[in-house]
């Protein structure tokens, strides 16, 4: 064969793909698979960023969300916060460069993770309408507000600045983003409306002002004037680090010995533990990290596995808390009974997490439909991929029958119930980049189930009590039905008028309603040997 090897031919076509180009093609990975979801994703990315920024700056968030219908399938989204603002030089990168962010490298509980979200939204707007993103930001009253119009250069993954000017803004500090996108608006479980409501439940410290495309303004006022505790940043725990990351860390470290590398870069590793790991891995404590080759690192990984290291600190996680979660639920879900549980921190793959569960039962919720499940991760509602989520699995695997609900195997319980499941973690494990479902780590599923059971027991005692009260009411009704019958019999035996007897019996029932209702003497069996239950009743004074 005279032809040149196929690989050479193929090589001509092989070139670098920019991240931006990749996401342009694979936008579904970021939550832009359809027009309806796109609307939600854009709002969600903007609001999540605003909440993170406000909390980091210790400002009580007040966020306004406005969606304006511009034409068929075309919407303008405006999200404005009272956060700390962004310094001028960072604005273009924050909004128009993928994978630019402050959160990827830190082990700290926050809503955003990778620094993709808002830039992806900008990219989506650009792809569907061609219109640039309009950003306004101000960092304090002594600085001017800056206005940018930005495009994202997909080949180079860089911002293109179309406009950069100082403008007047009456806000003292904050950020405002305006995007035009192709989208559709629809109400329902997976709508922006549901997202905003869910956000209000798990962020009772935030005020959200939402103007829908129908120009209705909904205000979700905050239920508490206190910010959640600031989450602490932690170093990775050795158990949670994989080989690739370990290699990268070893390459990047400034530590001169393995012992100091281990103690400095990881949580819960002291000099003694570091020494033990080095010994087990078969190298000296003062070995230079730079000298380590792949086989050594593999040994190191094994040594870590074989060494007992205490669990990572858990103060880095800030759960909502039982009281606040209840407040949040009460605020947004009209029900008659609420139960909330915050579990103690646990660890999956060396990463600490906390599970919280809230239940809202009864009220106007439909009793013949499956319970409504609301899933949250780090105070963000998860609206898609319900069936793929660990939270769904946990709810389904929990037996709800003892708690007074009906449930067929392999499905959600049926009843007037809302179940909220929240995972707080420095690194919530999602099944995809779009952050729609929590991955099925056994530790996480176990904690979720325990929390659900704990709440379920509270619910069970309420539901049973309610049922008991219902029975008592039914009992009184039985007598109401029987009174005319027995009055008729007695009257016809004694040869007197029925009405007097009936009135006297009705009066007796009314006076002793509570007593009669609570009297649970068991049904007497004719041939039973047991003495019948004697009951006493208040008797009118003899005249």
């Amino acid at each position: 064969m005279a032809e040149k090897p196929i690989a050479l031919k193929l090589a001509e076509k092989q070139r670098e793909v920019s991240v931006a180009e990749f996401f342009e093609r694979n936008r579904h990975l970021l939550g832009f698979d359809n027009k309806r979801k796109a609307l939600l994703t854009v709002v969600k990315e903007a609001v999540d960023n605003s909440l993170d920024a406000c909390e980091e700056a210790r400002i009580l968030p007040e966020i306004s969300i406005e969606i304006i219908e511009m034409g068929p399938d075309r919407f303008r989204i405006i999200v404005e916060d009272n956060g700390p603002g962004i310094v001028r030089k960072n604005i273009p990168n924050v909004f128009a460069r993928l994978l630019y962010g402050s959160k990827f490298h830190s082990m700290k509980q926050s809503r955003g993770q990778q620094g993709i979200g808002i830039s992806a939204a900008v990219l989506y707007a650009q792809l569907t309408t061609g219109r640039p993103a309009r950003i306004k930001s101000r960092i304090d009253p002594n600085h001017p507000a800056h206005y940018f119009e930005l495009h994202l250069n997909t080949q180079r993954n860089e911002p293109e600045i179309l406009k950069d000017e100082e403008v007047q803004w009456k806000k003292e500090h904050g950020t405002r983003i305006e995007l035009d996108i192709e989208a559709t608006y629809q109400k329902g479980d997976q709508s922006v409306d549901a997202y905003v409501k869910g956000t209000a439940i798990v962020n009772p410290h935030a005020t959200l002002i939402y103007t829908t495309p129908k120009a209705e303004q909904l205000i979700f006022a905050r239920a508490i004037e206190k910010l959640p505790k600031e989450p602490q940043e932690i170093k990775p725990h050795p158990y949670g680090v994989e080989l690739g990351i370990m290699l990268k860390m070893i390459k990047a470290t400034e530590s001169r010995t393995m012992q100091s590398f281990l103690t400095n870069e990881f949580s819960r590793v002291g000099p003694q533990t570091a020494k033990e790991i080095c010994e087990k891995a078969g190298f000296a404590c003062n070995e230079k990290p730079g000298n380590l080759q792949l086989p050594h690192v593999e040994k190191l990984m094994q040594a870590i596995k074989d060494t007992k290291i205490i669990a990572p600190p858990t103060d880095c996680i800030v759960p909502i808390g039982e009281q606040l979660l209840e407040k949040g639920l009460k605020k947004e879900v009209a029900a008659e009974f609420y139960a909330t549980v915050t579990r103690s921190p646990e660890v999956y793959r060396g990463i600490p997490f906390v599970i919280e569960v809230g239940l809202a039962y009864g009220g106007q919720q439909p009793g013949d439909e499956p319970a409504r499940l609301m899933r949250f991760a780090n105070r963000v509602p998860l609206l898609y991929q319900q069936s793929a989520c660990a939270a769904t699995k946990s709810v389904i695997q929990t037996n709800w029958k003892p708690y007074g609900l009906s449930q067929s195997s392999g499905s959600l319980p049926v009843g007037p119930l809302t179940v909220a499941v929240h995972l707080a973690s420095v690194w919530p494990p999602f099944t995809s980049e779009a952050k729609e479902a929590i991955a099925h780590y056994p530790e996480i599923v176990k904690e979720m189930k325990l929390a659900l059971q704990e709440c379920g027991r509270q619910l069970g005692s309420y539901v049973n009590k309610k049922r008991r009260v219902g029975l008592e009411r039914e009992r009184v009704t039985i007598f109401e039905k029987y009174i005319p019958e027995v009055a008729d019999s007695i009257a016809s035996l004694a040869g007197i008028t029925k009405s007097r007897i009936q009135a006297a019996l009705a009066e007796m029932l009314a006076k002793n309603k509570e007593f009669i209702a609570s009297n649970t003497a068991k049904i007497e069996a004719d041939e039973s040997d047991e003495p019948e239950n004697k009951i006493k009743m208040t008797v009118k004074e003899e005249e």
């Binding site: 039985i478 007695i490 004694a494 006297a504 049904i523 004719d526 041939e527 003495p531």
Partner: protein, 358 residues
């Protein structure tokens, strides 16, 4: 006003008085259970004890029965007012209805109204016949006997293949002529038909009597009257099983459920003719036995522990043998020896030899 009617009016007036005083209405019903039944050694019958239970209207567990009892009392009073009689089934339908605006029925099944009537008997101390409520006719009799019933003379020997069917109330019957030496009561109507066809009563100068299964009150009273008024011995022919034994026990001592009327029902001199364990040996019936089920064994144990059987050695021996066989035998097993074996050989032999259990 007749006594039963007076008692029913009193019952209504007592309840009305309590209600108007604000006292909750209740009925005292003697407990009809083994725990409240005693065997009287002297009279050799069962007696109802003094234990009674309150049935309270304002009690979820009692209200239904309370209403049922008063409902049948009302029906009974209406019957007495009209001078008419009704059957148990009639009373059931007179009481059966749904309370308006609810899904509650006063009675759902006839057993409920039947029980309510039995309770009413205890409360009023009158029998249901006196309350103008009759049971269904059930049972046949044949023999050289002439009676008078409501003005009609009836000859028990001239009633064809069916015999005279026994009414539920035999109180008013007059015996005109009784020419018999004894009475045989049998559990099985099929056996009665056999003996009737063979004219056993004619050949042996006796009366043959049956009801299907458990003996009704009318039959028990009829047997008792023949026994008391004409000094006829009563022989009982039953299956060799726990239920057969209990039929005999009811005839002789009275029933647990109706211990309050033992006096007008029990026949303490009745004898158990067969089938006995000894018959099985003597007449070679061991190939025609039926295996006992768990319920049979449990019932046998209950019966063997009744006070009136406990110290009876002959009976305890029968129970023991039955347990050993692990099997029971029907009267009809005798047919294995020939269709007329029972009338030509078994019965004459047994009676002649006084081969019975007391």
């Amino acid at each position: 006003m007749t006594e039963p009617k007076k008692r029913l009016v009193e019952l209504g007036q007592e309840l009305a008085k309590d209600i108007e005083k604000g006292k909750q209405p209740k009925l005292d019903v003697p407990v009809r259970a083994l725990s409240n039944v005693q065997y009287n050694e002297r009279t050799k019958t069962l007696e109802l004890g003094k234990k009674s239970a309150e049935r309270i209207f304002f009690n979820v567990g009692h209200v239904k029965k309370f209403v049922q009892t008063l409902e049948v009392a009302k029906v009974s009073k209406q019957l007495l007012d009209l001078g008419k009689h009704a059957s148990l089934r009639d009373v059931f339908y007179m009481a059966k209805r749904t309370i308006p605006g609810s899904n509650i029925n006063i009675v759902d099944e006839q057993t409920e109204s039947d029980k309510a009537i039995e309770d009413l008997e205890l409360i009023t101390e009158f029998s249901r016949e006196q309350l103008n409520i009759n049971a269904n006719k059930n049972g046949s009799v044949a023999g050289q006997v002439i009676i008078e019933d409501k003005g009609d003379a009836i000859d028990w020997s001239k009633l064809g293949s069916g015999g005279w069917s026994i009414p539920s109330n035999v109180e008013e019957i007059k015996f005109k002529k009784v020419s018999a030496d004894y009475v045989i009561y049998m559990e099985k109507a099929a056996v009665w038909e056999r003996l009737h066809e063979d004219k056993y009563w004619d050949k042996h100068k006796c009366i043959i009597l049956t009801s299907q299964g458990q003996t009704t009150r009318g039959i028990r009273r009829l047997l008792q009257r023949l026994n008391q008024e004409h000094k006829l011995p009563v022989y009982v022919l039953c299956d060799f099983d726990a239920y057969g034994f209990y039929i005999y026990s009811v005839l002789k001592f009275g029933s647990i459920n109706l211990a309050h009327i033992s006096e007008s029902q029990a026949i303490p001199s009745a004898k158990f003719l067969g089938i006995t364990a000894d018959d099985i040996e003597k007449y070679g019936l061991s190939k025609h036995l039926i295996k006992m089920k768990d319920v049979d064994i449990a019932r046998l144990k209950q019966i063997s522990e009744y006070d009136w059987f406990k110290n009876n050695k002959a009976w305890q021996r029968q129970f023991k043998l039955m347990k050993q066989y692990g099997a029971k035998a029907e009267i009809q097993a005798l047919s294995a020896r020939g269709i007329t074996f029972i009338s030509e050989k078994y019965l004459p032999e047994k009676i002649k030899a006084k081969d019975w259990l007391d």
